[in-house]
Symmetry: C2
Subunit: 423 residues, 2 copies
Amino acid sequence: MRSADPVDLDAVDAIRHDRVDWRFKGLPADAFGGTVGELVDRRPDLFADGFVGPLVVLDAAALEHNLATMARWCAEHGVLLAPHGKTTMAPQLFARQLAHGAWGITAATISQVRVYRAFEVGRVLLANQLVDPAGLRWLADELADETFEFTCWVDSVAGVERMTEVLGTPPRPVDVLVEVGAPGGRTGARDHDTALAVARAVRASPALRLAGVGGYEGALAHDASPGARATIDRYLESLRDLAVRLRDEFEVDEPVVTAGGSAYFDQVAAALTREWPFPVRPVLRSGAYVTHDDGFYRGISPLGRTPGAEPFRPALRAWAQVTSRPEPGLALLTLGKRDASFDEGLPEPQLVRGRDGAVRPLDAEVTALNDQHAFLRLSPDDPVEVGDWVGLGLSHPCTVFDKWQLIPVVDGTTVVDLVRTYF
Amino acid sequence: MRSADPVDLDAVDAIRHDRVDWRFKGLPADAFGGTVGELVDRRPDLFADGFVGPLVVLDAAALEHNLATMARWCAEHGVLLAPHGKTTMAPQLFARQLAHGAWGITAATISQVRVYRAFEVGRVLLANQLVDPAGLRWLADELADETFEFTCWVDSVAGVERMTEVLGTPPRPVDVLVEVGAPGGRTGARDHDTALAVARAVRASPALRLAGVGGYEGALAHDASPGARATIDRYLESLRDLAVRLRDEFEVDEPVVTAGGSAYFDQVAAALTREWPFPVRPVLRSGAYVTHDDGFYRGISPLGRTPGAEPFRPALRAWAQVTSRPEPGLALLTLGKRDASFDEGLPEPQLVRGRDGAVRPLDAEVTALNDQHAFLRLSPDDPVEVGDWVGLGLSHPCTVFDKWQLIPVVDGTTVVDLVRTYF
C-alpha cells in the first residue's frame, strides 16, 4: 500500500473557483458572479466594501496561532493528532491542520466522510460504529483506493455482525477500534468483558480488522473540577487497561489508542503516552482548538488552566448591526439562532463600532436569541445607536460553523480569505 | 407599474438541474453527479435505495394539507398572507405558497431578500428596519425592477435618517411600515407618540413612503393561556389604534396593517379585519404552518385549540439509526444538534423501523442531544437493535430547515421530490 497523501490540495484550492452569489449570507453584492478567489484577491474591507450583516468572521492570526500551538503541544507531548473535522467541516482548514502535522482527520458520520473523501483526505477516523448499509457499501467502494486509510469504531457484537453482513468479504478488511465507554457515558462497551467479546467478533469477521482501542472522555464530565478530572483519569485508565488486555487480539503491529476532545486532552495525552508494554500509536482527536471560543472552551481548555501554557486564542467573532433601540437599556441586533451558537452560552458582546469607524469596548449582555434577533441589554445611558456594529464572542464553535457556508477570514478589518464549509 | 409576477417559476424549476453530490447530507451515492430532477424521477425508496442516516424528510400529503388549510383559512377570514419565508428558505415552497394565493413572502434579513430576488419573488416584506448601508444600496439597485414590490419596517427617527442618508433620492421611494411594539417586547416603537414622530420623519424623507403599520405579537407571550391571549389582544388593539391615528399620514391609498406569527394568528385576523374607518390591507405573516411541528406549534397553534377547526399536520420527521445499545434502557442515535432542532424541545421518538422493514410505535424519550448523537432512553426490555431506524417528530421548524440543504419529500417511504434550502 502506498502511503496516504494527506489531502488533495488541488481540490482544496479549487474552492477559489467557486462562484460567489446570493447563496452565501453577507457577501458583497458586487462580487456576485465572480469567484471566491477574485473576492479574496481584492482584499476587501469588512465594513467598507459591501459586506452586509450579520457576519461571522475568523481571525487570521488567532487561527494560525491555534494551529501552530496545538501542533507544537502534540509534538512536545508525543501524541498524534487526528482533529475532529466535524467542528468546521472546512477542507481548507483540514489542509492547514494536516500541513501542521495532523496525522488524520476525524469524522462523526458517513456523510462527513464523503465530504472528506471529495477532497481525498488520506486518513480518516470515523468515531462511531457504522451500521448504515448504504454507508457501508459506499465505504467498501471507496476502499478500492488503496491509499485510503480508514478506521471506525465498534462497540457491540451486534454491530460487528451487521457490518460483516453488509461488507461480506471486501478487497481489504475495514480497520476498527473497539470503543470502550463508561456507565453514564455515551457510546462504547460498558465493561471489558463486553469489549473483549467485541474484539473476538472482529477477529472472527472476514470484513474487519482489529486495529486498536478508542474512546471519548468528554461525555463523562463538563468542568475542570478535581472530581471531574478524577472521573476522566479513571476512564483513561480503563481505556489503557483494555488496550493491554487486548494485546494478543490486535491484528496490526502498532494498534491505535485514541481519545480526546478539547476539554481534557492534557490528561488524555498523559495517559496515552505513559510507558506501554508494546508499541501503540497514541492519537488525540480534539477539534475545537482551531478556533477556540469565548465561552465553554475558554473556561475548560487545558491550555487556559495550566500555568505557563500558551493558551489558544478565540478566532471566531460575530458582527451584527443594531436594528432597533426601542427602550433605554435595550438594543436589538440582526443576529439570531440562524447565525450564532446558543447551546453552550449566548454570544458575548465585546465591542461596538460606530458609524465613524471608532471601536470601543461594550459592557452589555445578550439575554435572548430569537431566530433572527438578539436582545442586547446595556446600561440605560449607553450611546449605542441604530446602525452601529456590535462585535460578539461566541461559545462552542461546532454550532457556529454549521450556520455559515463561506466565512471571511480577517486581518484587522481586511478580508484575506474565505473559508467554505460543507454541512 | 406592472403588477408583480409572484415568483419566477423557471428559476424555481431550475433547481431540478442542480447537481446532487457529497455536499448534501444523506443522499444516495449512486445519484452523485446526476441532477436533483433525475434522482426525484427515479422515485427512490427512503430505506432501500441508498439514502444514509440521519435524514430529515417532509411528508408530501401533510405539506399539501397545510398549504391548502392555511389558504382556505385566510380566505375565509378575509386576510392576506405573506408567509414568513425564513422558516424554510425554500423557493420551491414559496412557489407553492404563492400558488395557494399567498400575497407575498416575508423576510428577516437583507441576505434573505437577496435569495428571494434570485427567484424574482415579486412582493417582499422585510420585517425589520433596514439600516445596513450595503444592504440599502443593493435594495436601491434592485428597485430598478419596477415590478418589485418591497416594504420594510421603521421604528425610529434615527433609523429613518440612516435609511434616507444612504438612499438619497432613489428612482422610487422605499415603502415602509411604522412598527409598533410594546414594553417588554422586541423591536417596534414603544408608544404612539414615538410612532407618530417616525411616521412624520418618513413623510419628510424623499427616500421613503409611508405605506402602513406593522408589528409582531409573538414576542409578547408564549402560551395560549387566557392571560397570554389577553396580552396579545391588547397589543393588537394598540396596533389598530395606531393605524387609525396615522390615517392622514399614509402616503398610499390602502395602507397595509400586518402582524401574525404562527401562535395567535386567529386573534390577529380578528383584530385586523374588524371594521375600519378607511380601506386597509390586513396581512398575516405566519410561516411555520407549512410544516407545523410535533412540539411547540402543536401545543399553541390556533387551529389545534379551536374546536371544529381543521388542524395543521406535522410534515417534518427525522430518521436516524441506532448506532449503539451500550446499556439496557439506552440507545444512541446518529442524530445531533447538526441535524435536529433542540431550542424549543428535543426530538420526540415516535416509531422504530426494524431491519425487516416492520414499523412499530416507540415509547421512548430523547434526553439529550450532542453535536452528532441523541441519547434515547427507553424501557429496559425494549428490543430496539443496533441498525434500527428511529423516526422522530421535531419542534420548531425554523431550526430544522437551516440544518438541511436538500430535503426529501416522501409519500410513504417513496421520495417524490427534493426541496432545496438557501441559508
